[in-house]
Symmetry: C2
Subunit: 585 residues, 2 copies
């Protein structure tokens, strides 16, 4: 079937004079997670993972996947004669390098609506001829529809700022420039609206063009109630059909336009380039504003983490009471998701990771009904889970003992926990960025010659995407450059060092932090972090030989705070259980 689909695709390519067609896993908005509608790579290759690039030529097809998908890609695609390019292995070329090397004098087809300006420019800069054409949409049978669910408002008791006020603030910075936004989280944030279009990320499909006078929102009108339409109208937001966005862009002429090249699609760029506009690349002002949680959002975020703490505590109590050998990872996943939804969460924050022993060494392992390890009353279980609340988004990882464990596991658990605290307990002078503090969470692991091959932390949205930027806590460089953005009071991010020993075990400790002001003196303004997460760490995994005095003190203080904070929300049985988990060591 896949082979037939590729044949049909190739005829369509030929009609357009395309030698090689480029597919990615993004949508029209450069989203990390996307609606089912955009699972094009799965349709044409069989590969169901979340991140990949597919290149199709007249004779061949290549699927580019990173380490977590090497095996899966083999299983799903080799049978269709698709070549798997295993990124991270020797000689494996990145798609751009591959195109430069083998197709530099050919015509590369791509969907300009699903390609960032940055990537398209990269191709052009390398002398590659690209043709923006959606040759595939007409070929897809039974395509999953886009969501028709209503868009809803998030009231000011949750957002902290009215839509009107946010618009005023952006307008003040923007002056007479035009700002085009494709990013769904930024649009949802700015308009205090939420939707249901992407699993676990409460956004809705839309484009936005911000002029000094008017704001044009391109979205599916039928999904807005009369009431919301009235509110938008009052605040100067003019709504237009989603499909009319690109033709509207053609009418913008002689303006200075701000776009984030990494988050706006190439088709947008092509359209506005025709109008004698000056186009300037800049991280979205809305994104910078969204990154700094306002006082109401901060207060709510604390509440969301209390709710989250209660739900996870109930899960831990349940798990403690059952025979682990009767459970699979998937059973546990269903259970923890259930506790969150049964309490206060609107939704999960992302698809839950529950991983037993060696499965936890796979950084993005996710069990499902058909593919899930059976637990036992020994070893360790890692769960990385979170919720969507009106009061914020949570993201937490705990690694717990299901029974007996090894000294080695305890040693690494103790060091990972210490590493997490090394970052969270920092007091620092304002002006630092995420790439300047990352070293704190790694140094104790580096001392043993161990590293984790990912960032230490990512920004977290407020009832939005669980991965947000800025900030970004990592020592390496990213396309968005969030790791170079100054860390400011009000920013919220995760702190999640870990160790991953393939085929053996994985350990991660993750708390969410809020940046707050500390003292101001002759040296300047000091900042520190407030830990938002309210969930105990498993004391059974601590090896006192690796627990220095400072870390012990910090852990005990944290556990006391968790107990005191959750107590008003617990019944006496839960309170007793939590007291035991948070006992002083």
């Amino acid at each position: 079937m896949i082979k037939r689909r590729l044949t049909v695709l190739r005829s369509a390519m030929q009609k357009e004079g395309i030698d090689l067609y480029y597919f990615n896993t993004s949508d029209y908005h450069m989203s990390e997670y996307v609606p089912e509608y955009f699972r094009t790579i799965e349709y044409f290759s069989g590969f169901s993972g979340s991140l990949a690039t597919l290149l199709v030529s007249m004779e061949d097809a290549w699927l580019f996947v990173d380490g977590r998908y090497h095996t899966q890609a083999d299983q799903q695609c080799l049978k269709y004669d698709i070549k798997i390019v295993k990124l991270g292995t020797q000689d494996a070329l990145e798609p751009l390098e591959f195109i430069k090397k083998y197709y530099s004098d050919k015509t590369i087809g791509l969907d300009g609506k699903r390609t960032s300006i940055r990537f398209a420019k990269e191709l052009i800069k390398n002398g590659i001829f690209i043709k923006s054409a959606d040759v595939y949409s007409d070929l897809i049978e039974n395509r999953a529809p886009l969501s028709k669910d209503p868009v809803y408002e998030l009231s000011v008791e949750y957002t902290g700022l009215t839509r009107k006020r946010k618009i005023e603030m952006i307008r003040y910075v923007l002056k007479d420039r035009v700002h085009i936004i494709n990013n769904l989280e930024s649009i949802a944030y700015l308009l205090n609206l939420r939707g249901n279009d992407i699993l676990h990320t409460p956004v809705f499909m839309a484009y936005l063009v911000f002029f000094s006078n008017d704001i044009y929102l391109f979205a599916d009108l039928e999904r807005f109630s009369e009431e919301i339409l009235d509110h938008l109208y009052e605040d100067g937001v003019i709504i237009r059909p989603y499909a009319s966005y690109y033709s509207f862009l053609e009418t913008i002429r002689g303006k200075k336009i701000l776009v984030d090249e990494t988050k706006v699609n190439y088709e947008t760029y092509v359209c506005i380039s025709r109008g004698h506009n000056t186009i300037q690349h800049m991280r979205s002002i809305v994104e910078d504003m969204k990154a700094i949680k306002n006082p109401i959002e901060q207060r709510n975020f604390r509440l969301a983490h209390i709710y989250d703490g209660v739900a996870v505590l109930r899960f831990l109590m349940w798990l403690d009471s059952v025979d682990k050998s009767t459970l699979t990872e998937f059973d546990v996943r269903e259970k923890i998701d259930g506790f969150r939804k049964a309490y206060k969460a609107n939704d999960l924050g992302f698809s839950s990771i529950v991983a037993y022993n060696e499965n936890a060494a796979l950084m993005h392992y996710m069990p499902d009904r058909d593919n899930s390890a059976r637990l036992n009353n020994k070893g360790i279980l890692l769960f990385d889970t979170g919720g969507q609340y009106n009061e914020g988004t949570t993201d937490v990882t705990r690694t717990i003992a299901l029974g007996e464990t090894s000294d080695e596991i305890k040693k690494y658990f103790t060091l990972v926990l210490k590493s997490m605290f090394n970052l969270s307990e920092l007091k620092f002078l304002q002006g630092l960025s995420g790439n300047q503090i990352d070293v704190l969470a790694r140094k104790d692991l580096w001392e043993l010659g161990v590293d984790y091959r990912c960032g230490t932390g990512h920004g977290v949205g407020y009832n939005l995407a669980v991965h947000e930027t800025p900030p970004n806590i990592r020592y390496g460089k990213t396309e968005s450059g969030g790791e170079l953005a100054e860390i400011k009071p009000g920013m919220v991010f995760s702190d999640e060092p870990g160790v991953y020993f393939e085929g053996r075990f994985g350990i991660r400790c993750e708390n969410m932090l809020l940046c707050v002001s500390d003292e101001k003196n002759e040296y300047g303004q000091f900042l520190r972090f407030e830990t938002l997460t309210m969930i105990p760490f498993d004391l059974k995994l601590i090896d006192p030989r690796y627990l220095d005095e400072r870390t012990r003190r910090i852990l005990n203080a944290y556990h006391d705070r968790v107990y005191e904070t959750l107590l008003p929300y617990l019944n006496s049985e839960e309170a007793n259980y939590l007291r035991k988990l948070t006992r002083e060591i």
Copy 2:
């Protein structure tokens, strides 16, 4: 007298149609330390400090100085009606900002040979009209001459690489581009030559133009022996008179030329701009090569620090044996300088800092014969000193007790020492830069709300400038960007956190570090630092309450290494004394 000099200067300015004349403390080579010849600001304002900007208009004169010179500038210049702009205080404008605000529509005169391309471009970018003219040289009476001392060769047993080999390596990277160098240390390094032109920095005045075939050195021919001239000729270096440099530049046409805008003067830029050349800004390839000490340089550097350790040990023994109340800081300075010169040093590395109690809180305090505090048999003494050896350049700071001290001093000493070790004991994955590890040396001080208002460390030359870049260990940004350069094996730099409490006391601990390779495994190449400095820390200043177990272990291991390393160079009395200083705690 100063007033009369300014009057004469103003007539010269008027003749050239200049409204405001800009003086800085640099030379023709953008050097940090300069020959006497370039003390122009002192001639026209009376100010004798090492760093300042002087702006002279038809009516007024403004001297811009940073915090360490606020008082001195008042004392030396107010009497001549010169206005002191105290940088760092409220509303004080930087020279560039001052010019933009008050002289944007006027003609600014400057000596293009003493102004970096970067600064001149900054002015031009801001729409300011500049006129490059040396209006002052003809006015200076009894000007100190430039050095006529011979230039000498440093043999390959010290440099590790022959001149020929270095030239080949640069040529390999440069290909058909031209590289112009003004920086004196880079020229001395590349040619394995040294001179005597700048106090404590063994360089000689020269410009260098590196073509793919020939290398032109512009310097005072009389200072080179026949033998050196022969050697230079053999290696393809053509020597021309120092004064012919600018007219030579006019002959370069249609080339691609690399210059470091921050280290090449504006006059150079003007000259090469006329020749239809393509001018590209880039940190000098020679500077990058110089930063990475080769194996012979590394081996020698270790030796230089042994010599330095022996000299300082002898000084400590002497100091221990005398009544401190009979000494001034200047006496101590003469003594420590004497011990270095009497043993192996060719020269001091820089003017020695010896500061008692509150004087140590002034970061750049330097006692002289007329201005020097009397010591006593209590309190603390900070000395920041170093030597120039054929085997390298040293830079070390120790803070020692002269008798009884306070608990507060011990607390901060212990924390400063710990902070120094926090950086020096880091093991890390290759790829980090100085601005990513600076936090390690500050975090324990920040925890108490204290900071030091300078970088944590600077690169150190090999028998060259004591301040070299890259690398640069600091969290803020500098013009050279050395803090963003990757730290690589072979780099040598200082590690010198401190505390400075105005009017009370100052503490600094400084060791020099060499970056070396550690293990390479599946996570990548790990690096660490080898401490080069071989001088004990004063155990009397340690407060065990602030000394964590790890720091205690590190300190003891360091002291053992100092003892073992210096032992072969000591007589038995010295060995016994050192054993006492390095005893286990």
